[in-house]
């Protein structure tokens, strides 16, 4: 969209490079091919994202082999990936996993694990949610960890783990006597099962631990705050991805409204369609603003509003994307309801993303809480 663009020159070049790369690497035909595979990503594209573009280690500090970039750059990259529905373990392995390791403050673990993650040779993911509970509902976590010599043994089942079947490193949280703690487990010791899902462009898995050996990361009992921060950064990144997808939906809709003719004129000439497009533009632009704000604030800890901004973006961008994708179907009429048209892939991604790192309800409740609306008992 050029109508209302906000140029930040440092980011413009990055955006262009990623867009040019994804144009070839992730056309609709590739998305459709990959979504039908078990792995759900193309290892060659992943390698190029790491080696040629240096994007896999984007947020990993240079001392651990990454690019040391901030949330703002991450948001630029995620928005582009969202536009093309790139099928890749980026959110799990390049965002959530490094975020949680870095937040843990465990230098040794970071030194051991981050270089492999940053150069793309190791795939990692973060397994948190259990049962049908929101990923943000830490009280619902019942997986246990029992000390066994210098390691721990995990028991429990994690649900809806992004790229849980392909990851070579499982970062997860479990309860010990001291409370929620972060662990790293090797997938060999876990039971992994792919889940048939609404959005096949992002693979989810069930991961079962039954005496699975794992290593404690960071301080025992200190995982809640670490996890909250990692999920917040994930939310900021996901909000950008949602914005990119919503923007692409708007473009598809506007292109179609200009070319499809009924009653002797382009359907875009009808107010009913015009108004929808105008409304979407407003929402897409607002979503961008929310996502960019959240990314900017992330790198500015003085405000103390990072969580709040992440939740504002999470809630707003989730709803804007679902709305944009649904309207794209509507504006396309019958074509929009077909399997062949990409509109449903965007709707699937949008609807599923809206639940991935905290439901809209959860985010709104956090907003209410952070601005002091929730009475304390």
């Amino acid at each position: 969209m050029s109508a209302v663009s906000d140029r930040n020159d440092g980011h413009e070049e990055l955006r262009k490079a990623v867009r040019a790369f994804l144009k070839n690497a992730s056309p609709s035909s590739e998305v459709r091919r990959l979504m039908a595979t078990a792995e759900g990503y193309d290892p060659e594209v992943w390698r190029r994202l790491a080696d040629e573009l240096g994007l896999v280690g984007l947020i990993v500090p240079e001392r651990f082999g990454g690019a040391g970039a901030g949330a703002a750059e991450l948001a630029v990259v995620m928005a582009e990936m969202g536009r093309t529905l790139l099928c890749s373990p980026y959110l799990s392995s390049a965002v959530l996993a490094p975020a949680v390791l870095l937040e843990s403050g465990d230098e040794a673990a970071c030194a051991a694990l981050l270089p492999g993650i940053a150069d793309g040779s190791a795939l990692a993911t973060l397994a948190v949610a259990e049962d049908n509970a929101d990923i943000r509902d830490f009280d619902a976590i019942r997986t246990t960890a029992r000390a066994d010599g210098d390691r721990h043994l995990l028991h429990g089942t994690k649900e809806r783990v992004s790229d849980g079947c392909t990851a070579g490193l499982l970062l997860t949280v479990a309860r010990t006597d001291k409370g929620l703690s972060l662990f790293a487990a090797e997938p060999e010791g876990a039971e992994r099962e792919p889940l048939p899902v609404l959005d096949p462009t992002r693979k989810l898995a069930r991961v079962g631990f039954d005496g699975t050996p794992a290593r404690l990361i960071g301080a025992e009992g200190a995982a809640a705050a670490v996890l909250g921060r990692a999920l917040d950064l994930g939310t900021v990144a996901l909000a950008a991805e949602q914005t990119g997808g919503a923007e692409r939906c708007l473009e598809l809709s506007v292109e179609y409204a200009k070319t499809r003719e009924q009653f002797g004129r382009p359907i875009g000439a009808f107010q009913a369609i015009k108004h929808k497009c105008a409304e979407l533009l407003h929402e897409v632009e607002s979503a961008k603003a929310a996502a960019q704000d959240a990314a900017r604030l992330w790198s500015d800890p003085t405000t103390g509003e990072q969580g709040l901004a992440a939740s504002v973006a999470g809630a707003y961008c989730s709803e804007a994307y679902v709305h944009a994708a649904a309207e794209t179907i509507q504006i396309h009429g019958g074509i929009g309801f077909t399997w062949e048209h990409d509109a449903h892939l965007y709707l699937r991604r949008a609807r599923s993303s809206a639940l991935l790192l905290g439901s809209t309800s959860w985010h709104l409740e956090r907003v209410a809480e952070d601005i002091g609306l929730v009475p304390t008992a």
Binding site: A129, Q330, T338
Partner: protein, 394 residues
């Protein structure tokens, strides 16, 4: 026809008691748990409707001459309530009830005799061949054409989005027989056997990955002239025939269904604990309010019809409101499901077999399928509010 008994029983209330007792007996004997398997379920629904027709308990609103029960509106409402209460199987081909009123009003005696009985019994399925690649909302610009050759028409062209085409025995189609002009000139209403030579049906995958509609190609398809309904070139005017009262009652089954689905959603929200979330609760309350408003609205329209008055604008907005309600309902349902809403139908732990997530995807068509929401708004603005037409002036 067994339905003749309806006339023999004197006063309207005695008559009502009569059919409703028979219907109750019938339902006792025939309704039951639907088979889980899709093919078996279809056969089960077909058998139910064949029996229903046999017993003279099908088509409450149709005139008795057409094989219906000839019930008045109040009785039709009671009939629908009785059917929904036991969750009797729906007729497996809803599209049949789009062609039926046209046949009843405009069909020849031969056509009625030939088609209505197997239609009611679900022995024969129908599909609707209206939309084409370049004629969707603007249906009068359709170009699939028929040329007269002796006592046959030769049909060439293509239809699109034809629901059930791959299962249907017959298509009721709008076909160009003359030059296009204002008011749908040059369009005829033809009944085409789907087994005809020259018809190719190409199923299309829809949003759910399943196949519910198709492309249908016509290559020199020969159709007997006796399959024309109404006048040649007069198809447009009769394509929208309905039996007045049927339209009023068609809402009812929707209504009962919405009520039931909303109740199911409430139950789900309570058992899963989703209702403890104050925000989800607000959404549920909004849905509850909507379903009640929906009901009051159609009660108003029905009351008007029952008193012989014009139901007014409420009836025209009803369909639009329902379509959008269906979408909102499913939006909220996904919020109620919680994170597991992301699971697909093939995942055994998907809540309630994935029906809500599937329904969410399918609900996107309720504002496209039978005339888009925008076109309905245009129609309301033009017909109800008298605003000028958006069509290009010729």
């Amino acid at each position: 026809m067994p339905s003749a008994t309806a006339q023999d029983t004197g006063t309207p209330s005695a008559r009502r008691a009569h059919w409703s007792v028979r219907l109750a007996e019938f339902l006792d004997a025939h309704a039951g748990r639907p088979p889980r398997d899709k093919t078996e379920r279809l056969a089960w629904a077909r058998a139910f409707h064949a029996e229903l027709q046999e017993t003279g308990l099908a088509a409450p609103g149709w005139p008795t001459e057409a094989g219906g029960m000839g019930l008045d509106l109040a009785d039709q409402i009671a009939y629908h309530q009785q059917m929904t209460a036991v969750r009797a199987p729906k007729h497996p081909c809803g599209l049949s009830f789009i062609v039926a009123p046209t046949l009843i009003k405009h069909g020849t005696a031969e056509q009625k005799k030939r088609f209505l009985r197997p239609l009611l019994r679900a022995d024969e399925f129908w599909c609707q061949g209206f939309s084409e690649p370049d004629a969707g909302s603007d249906l009068t610009s359709l170009t699939t054409r028929a040329e007269r050759a002796g006592d046959e028409y030769i049909v060439n062209g293509q239809k699109l989005w034809t629901t059930m085409a791959h299962l249907a025995d017959w298509m009721f189609a709008l076909i160009r027989t003359g030059p296009a002009g204002p008011g749908g000139a040059g369009i005829s209403y033809l009944l085409i056997p789907m087994k005809s030579r020259g018809i190719t049906v190409r199923p299309l995958k829809d949003i759910s990955g399943g196949t519910h509609f198709s492309e249908v190609y016509f290559d020199d398809v020969r159709v007997p002239v006796e399959n024309l309904v109404g006048e040649e070139h007069g198809g447009w005017a009769i394509a929208r025939t309905s039996l007045g009262h049927e339209r009023a009652t068609a809402f009812l089954s929707d209504e009962f269904r919405f009520r039931r689905v909303v109740n199911e959603l409430h139950r789900l929200a309570k058992t899963s604990g989703a209702a403890n979330d104050p925000l989800v609760r607000q959404d549920l309350a909004r849905i509850e309010a909507s379903v009640r408003v929906l009901a009051s609205n159609s009660r108003r329209a029905l009351d008007a019809v029952l008193q012989g008055r014009d139901p007014g604008p409420a009836a025209s907005v009803n369909r639009l409101v329902r379509a959008e309600f269906d979408q909102r309902l499913h939006e909220v349902a996904l919020r109620v499901l919680g994170p597991d809403a992301v699971l697909g139908q093939r995942e055994p732990t998907a809540p309630e077999g994935g029906r809500w997530t599937y329904g969410y995807l399918m609900s996107r068509s309720s504002t496209i399928g039978a005339g888009t929401a925008e076109i309905q708004r245009n129609t309301i603005a033009e017909r109800v509010l008298g605003l000028p037409s958006g069509r290009k002036q010729a």
